[in-house]
Subunit: 234 residues, 2 copies
DNA sequence: CGCGGGGGCGAACGCTGTTCGTTCTCGGTT
DNA sequence: AACCGAGAACGAACAGCGTTCGCCCCCGCG
């Protein structure tokens, strides 16, 4: 073991420059690293600060608070959503589905980040980029402007709540919970409901728990798009 | 000011019996009182205990933890949802809309309680009661079983995320935020987006912020139901 | 009459987001 | 070249969170 030497006094004591110099971007990246590793509830100011080798108070010079940090993280993640090379109006339904799948994939890849999305309107450029593409596709399909505007809302909600649900299960799996057994339990519970009050749910127990998350999501988007189709002006 | 008298020693000092004797039901009711008054973030174990004139540790004899308390509260609230007297298959779309409106009304009346709903499958009798009614309506309309099962999911997500969003705005209003001015700000922001990247959103600024929450909700449900209609077997 | 068990609860633990006040650093101005 | 002030960095602290521990008391059963 080497013995401790006193610092040479005329050497400026300078901490290792290895760590990046604490910019808003560095905060966002550190936050996302923590998010991916431990989920949204693990993203605390202390944890993020630790990731950057500092204390929580230091973060407030670059970010107004935790809420702003989370919104910046969401915006960054939204940037990972890849859009089709160009809109193809004749394939509008299929392309919108592609965007939905892609958004769901990206959000789910970052645990439960979508909770932030449920908390308000997001106006960052990366989210708007996706919205611009989708709304263009809807308009080109002949869907009225007001319908297209509302539809953007609806699709966003479907994506967000689905991604959130999906992330809960992946978190459960990561925590060692047997999700298959859980759904088996749900099915058995439904199948044993009192016949006089819940005849249908009881009978449909198997149907209710059928299908994985992707299949259910795909279906819901398809239903919504079929509904939109009925608004097309001819 | 009346001076304090010492307690008469042979009188059993008995705290006012007015407060109910701490049952799970009493916890749930106290929790909902706090929820209605201060919103979900105000529902802390300490706050609920205080509402019952005791300390937080006392709650754990009746409830396994905060999560269970919240789920019990959600179940209780779900009991307030009133269903039509009887299903009328020929009016299935209108009746499902009525149920959605009613559910949205009830949930929104209890602030942001729906956040709990987003956190997992709820199997309490009150929630199942609504599900049984809706699924019966769908089946009677000729919608295939698997479609009906998935649709239940989709409608639930629409209701939950919409009620959550609506509660955020009522909370903002209660906090003195001018929501109209907020939306004006959003519209102006959209209208000033760079033309070359966001021509459509820029142009649709007015359309995007048009309509209140109820109108948007109504529309989304209508779209989803039209989509479901296309699955009816003849 | 005795006693066991469970509800009630004060205190504490280890967290959280945020603020305060101090120290440090560094670029621009005398 | 000397100085100075603005902003970044940050240690410490505050108020509050969910939950647990350990003790007291009281009720009901044997």
């Amino acid at each position: 073991m080497t013995s401790e030497m006193p610092a040479i006094p005329w050497h400026k004591t300078r901490k290792a420059d290895t760590r990046q110099p604490l910019t808003p971007d560095a905060l966002v990246e550190a936050g996302i690293r923590v998010l991916d590793r431990e989920g949204l509830e693990g993203v605390t100011m202390r944890r993020v600060a630790q990731e950057l080798g500092t204390g929580p108070a230091s973060l407030y010079a670059h970010v107004s608070g935790k809420d702003e940090l989370l919104e910046l993280m969401l915006e960054r993640v939204s940037g990972e959503i890849r859009l089709p090379a160009r809109p193809e109006p004749e394939r509008w339904k299929e392309q919108i589905k592609e965007v939905c799948r892609e958004a769901q994939r990206v959000y789910t890849a970052h645990r439960d980040i979508t909770v932030v999305s449920l908390g308000g309107i997001q106006l960052g450029p990366n989210k708007l980029r996706v919205a611009e593409f989708v709304v263009g596709l809807l308009l080109s399909a002949g869907i009225p402007r007001q319908v297209a505007a509302f539809a953007l809302d609806g699709l966003g909600q479907l994506i967000d709540s689905d991604a959130y649900e999906a992330s809960l299960y992946t978190t459960k799996i990561a925590a060692g919970v047997d999700v298959d057994a859980y759904f088996d339990g749900v099915r058995d519970y439904l199948a044993r409901l009192p016949e006089e009050r819940f005849p249908l749910l009881r009978d449909m127990a198997e149907t209710m728990v059928h299908g994985d998350g992707d299949e259910r999501f795909e279906f819901k988007v398809e239903v919504f798009l079929r509904g939109l189709e009925s608004y097309i002006e001819r």
